[in-house]
């Protein structure tokens, strides 16, 4: 839109002001710059190297779904891209306004609308920050057992739009398992509601169409989530294994026994060394497993006993549970900038992939070997951060120190290409919970094959003018 010039901009500005009021529209350089990025790691060397990022034309702060509906209709008339924005904490470039347009910041819509104590459901507006919601629920004795690393800075709308996962996913699932209902402003401006019901047999689940749609199919304006009572007890255990395989085998056997730990994190040798920082010895090639159990004391006791027995049978060595408790207390620490990553041209990122158990180890080794062989100087380490009955996700972390930012960007792109290619070759999915945004946009057709045409057809049907977050999700 920017090339249309000041005259056009003035007309659009006046119309937006007519909808949300002047106090809710921003178009100064300072504001536009702060909305030109999210937490995508590629933007770090890019900015440090003096590169420019695409800026939006306007930022609007709607206060209700009706205002959003009007903005969507306006965007259709003028063919202006709309970029829904929560906390801007995504790591895939999902809110970068590559075509300019209007950023719709939802943080003024941050109320807890209703708590249904009988059904254990909470209805919230999308702009509420995860940590704020959790604290409010805790005051009532409840929890949304969803603790993503971005908890302090991401919103519920962002959780849902990106299919996020939290540290307790092995027991409570990802956000898509917690959404009971929602309200969405679809790309034509209509407001639709998907009512919260426990189960339904009325055709495909439309909630799942909007969950993970990353703003390409509409703007989520309300979400009803399943909540739990705060657990009576949460307890942790930690084990060291001689290799990765024994750790994974233990996890599979734990699930087969019907035990559902709330936390299962298995670190490979390099990541374990970073995590343990010398507080426990780990044999070369070994792995480090953290288990968490929560619920009533009797269940926690039993689950802990069974899981411990399995880990010991698999050759695991139990280490102090304090190590695991330390991880829990400091679980967000690695998401802060640190001296290591802040030095001149180090770049690091995470590639979150997933596969069923029959491919899980192969997925890990193929990505690690492919990336390290093809990209000298790059180290890849991992922890398996989310496990389920049928498989798990791998949080592949790479870092590299390069001579300058330009080189860092080049290596970054190369690593991503090699990692995703390797993932697809093995049969894994290219994202478990970070989403697609821009970093995986070009890979969606390979991920889904012919099935991607269905998603494209849905996009065309719902958003014929392609105004909703264009370019994201490969759409």
């Amino acid at each position: 839109m920017s090339e249309r010039g000041a005259f056009w901009r003035n007309i659009v500005y006046e119309e937006i002001v007519g909808i949300v009021g002047q106090k809710n529209v921003y178009c100064d350089e300072a504001d536009l710059l702060c909305y030109s990025r999210d937490a995508w790691q590629l933007t770090v060397p890019w900015i440090k190297g003096g590169g420019e990022l695409p800026k939006p034309d306007f930022i609007v702060h709607p206060e209700n779904a009706e205002q959003i509906s009007e903005i969507v209709k306006l965007a259709n008339r003028f063919r202006i891209p709309l970029i829904p924005f929560g906390g801007g904490a995504g790591v895939c470039g999902g809110t970068i306004p590559v075509h300019g347009g209007i950023v719709v910041d939802l943080k003024k819509m941050d109320r807890i609308v209703k708590v249904d104590h009988k059904s254990l459901l909470v209805t919230v507006q999308p702009g509420i920050l995860g940590e704020v919601l959790e604290r409010e629920l805790n005051k009532m004795g409840y929890t949304l057992p969803h603790y993503p690393a971005s908890m302090y800075c991401s919103t519920v709308g962002g959780f849902v739009a990106c299919r996020s996962a939290g540290s307790l996913s092995s027991k409570y699932g990802k956000i898509e398992d917690m959404v009971a209902g929602m309200e969405v402003v679809i790309p034509t401006g209509e407001i639709i509601r998907i009512k919260p019901v426990p189960r339904s047999s009325t055709g495909p689940d439309l909630k799942q169409l909007f969950i993970g749609s990353e703003g390409t199919l509409g703007i989520i304006t309300e979400v009803t989530l399943k909540i739990k009572h705060l657990p009576e007890e949460r307890r942790f255990k930690a084990f060291i294994f001689k290799n990765l395989h024994s750790g994974i085998e233990s996890v599979i056997k734990i699930f087969r026994k019907g035990v559902k730990p709330c936390v299962i994190r298995l670190y490979d040798y390099i990541d374990a060394q970073f995590t343990l920082k010398g507080k426990a010895e780990i044999p070369e090639g070994g792995s480090y497993l953290i288990l968490g159990f929560d619920g009533s004391r009797e269940i926690v006791d039993l689950e802990e006993k069974i899981a411990t027995g399995i880990c010991l049978e698999e050759g695991g060595v139990e280490v102090s549970r304090e190590l695991a408790e330390h991880w829990w207390r400091h679980r967000y620490d690695m998401y802060y900038p640190d001296a290591f990553r802040s030095s001149y041209s180090i770049i690091a990122d995470t590639v979150d992939v997933a596969a069923p158990y029959d491919k899980l180890e192969e997925l890990y080794w193929t990505i690690k070997r492919t990336v390290e062989e093809r990209n000298p100087g790059v180290t890849m380490m991992a922890h398996f951060s989310h496990f389920y009955e049928d498989g798990g996700s791998i949080y592949m972390i790479f870092f590299t120190q390069q001579q300058d930012h330009e080189r860092a960007v080049k290596v970054y792109n190369s690593v991503w290409k090699d990692a995703l290619e390797a993932c697809l070759k093995v049969g894994g999915t290219i994202s478990h919970h970070h989403g697609v945004g821009l970093v995986r946009a070009g890979w969606m057709h390979k991920e889904h094959g012919k099935a991607f045409d269905i998603l494209k057809a849905i996009k065309r049907a719902l958003d014929p003018n392609n105004i909703m977050n264009p370019g994201k999700l490969g759409l």
Binding site: D28, K48, G127, S150, Y152, Y336, D338, A339, S342, S343
Partner: protein, 376 residues
Amino acid sequence: MTLDPVVMCGVECMKMCRFVCIVANQLKLETVAPYGKCLIAYYLRNEAIKGGKRTAEVIYQCATCGLCTEWCLPRVDVPEIVKDVRAKLLEKDVAPEATVELGERARSERNPYGEPHNKRLAALRKGKKNGKKKEGGVAYFVGCTSAYKQPSIAKATAEILEQAGDGFTLIDEEWCCGAPLLSTGHRELAAEHAKHNKEVIERSGCDIVVTSCAGCYMTLSRDYPKMGFPLKTRVLHLSQYLWKVIEEGKLEIRKTSREKDLKVTYHDPCHLGRHMGVYEEPRSVLNSFARVQLIEMEWSKRNSKCCGSGGGLQLNFPELSRKIGMERIREATATGAEILVTACPFCKNQLEGVSEGKIKVYDLSEFVAKHLKTLE
């Protein structure tokens, strides 16, 4: 390797402190969050943006409360970054009008309110010898807010100082400590005030200078040395002095077996708590009163939420400041307390102004002076 805090916060961070930022929580805007301010600071430093009135508005929308730093693992000092940028914006002539006027008032009357300088200590001097020059003893640095806006605090402090020790002296020609000047970017003017105050305090010959104001305490003891004007005199905040004299038995609070029937909550002033680490003394003073049941707010001590008046926020953005203050009042009333005590005239002024009668607000000096005789 030198780390760059502006880059760490503005470019590299995932915005981990955003949920505690009192301004971002009101305005709900990325630009005003610590991350946004540091990103702007980065672009300004690299001359990638010019920085006009809106940039200045954003940079001044910060109470410099430092709660973000408490939630920052690498402890990026965002308030210091903000103050640096403000000084530059002031030079560029884009700072908010109210900030420019603050400088003018301080230059002419040596206080941020523009009140007549010759009235500063007038009320306290009544019945008291001017500028007693005896060696040693305690001097009372009254501060601008106690002198002009909250005279009951000055009066209460004077009463306590008289009762607790061997009396006190006032500082002849006391000027504003410079805290509001430093926080809004008037660095040269602040240095002028620091130089002057150092001279008059040291000339008074006192051993200890006591401040009512948390901002005065922070500025005299922490900022003057940084500015090249370290005081030879020991500086104590009234809460520290009170606890000292209570422990020494110089200020007696009678013991009683009565029930704890007075519910009190305490608001940590940012300048006293987070910036200077004084958390326990005011609480110990309050707990000395047998009937006081001290109830902590959800956000207290290191995590205390700001009252919203500091860092030039009340001056430049009164409505925003007011909303932040009301939020703190809501938190205070949620404790069930009937009294909110703070230890800073500036905080008291703000909290009392927005309390709408929902809770009684006292400065620690007022609470102690009022209850010393009536409340065991």
